[in-house]
């Protein structure tokens, strides 16, 4: 299983499409930095089929005033959880 990180909002960059195309069926996606915008209910549809495998970084949500505004299917993790995700994944791929 590979952990993918994405630091761009779907409103700002189409790199999320490359990330999704590269993901295997068990891979996970963690939204960080400006990428956390993608966790909003109005944008989460871009990540369609990732239920249970879509994460967003709590500190970056809070820094943007978006804590508590995520779509229900997004799993929110903090920095400790980010590290845990990298432990569980064989490798981490960063999309930017």
């Amino acid at each position: 299983m590979i952990l993918h990180t994405l630091n761009r909002s779907p409103t700002e960059s189409r790199v999320y499409r490359q990330a999704l195309a590269a993901m295997g069926p068990d891979d996970r996606l963690l939204l960080i930095e400006d990428g956390v915008q993608g966790a909003l209910p109005s944008l989460v549809r871009h990540f369609g089929e990732l239920e249970g495998r879509l994460f967003a970084l709590r500190e970056d949500l809070e820094a943007r005033g978006l804590a508590g505004r995520c779509a229900a299917e997004v799993l929110v993790v903090d920095a400790d959880g980010f590290v845990a995700l990298t432990e569980e994944a064989d490798k981490t791929v960063s999309w930017f």
Partner: protein, 130 residues
């Protein structure tokens, strides 16, 4: 686990360096060994010896330096990216006929091969880009 971080974003222009430092502290807090941080592209500016940000802002250069002091993390700067951007240690400054130097220990100028080596020899390599 043995961790390495790759930082490719410059300080105070993108979040990459902040994200990397936050991850570093979290990884260490979970008992991992953060053995290497490699600075590449504009990330080399995180090694600028003369960085003097306002006192009420995070000092990113000191943040990385303290990783070395507290945990022995090696701080490796791509020499090709550094020289292009004016990041020279005393030896390179002398070699290129420059007065003064802009990079000092614990940051060290190394080749890109060290990044490849970090990818092979560490359990995890995490990239933070602009």
């Amino acid at each position: 686990m043995r961790y390495a971080l790759l930082v490719q974003g410059g300080p105070y222009s993108h979040q990459a360096a902040h994200s990397a430092l936050r991850f570093a502290e979290a990884a260490i807090a979970r008992g991992h060994h953060l053995e290497t941080v490699f600075f590449y592209h504009d990330g080399v500016y995180n090694a600028a010896r003369l960085a003097a940000p306002p006192q009420d802002e995070p000092h990113l250069v000191d943040g990385f330096r303290s990783l070395h002091e507290a945990h022995g993390t090696q701080l490796k700067v791509c020499i090709a990216a550094g020289l292009r951007r004016g990041l020279l240690d005393e030896r390179e400054a002398a070699r290129h006929g420059k007065q003064g130097h802009s990079l000092e220990a614990p940051f060290e100028l190394t080749g890109l091969g060290q990044l490849i080596d970090a990818g092979l020899s560490h359990d995890r390599l995490i990239t933070f880009s602009p």
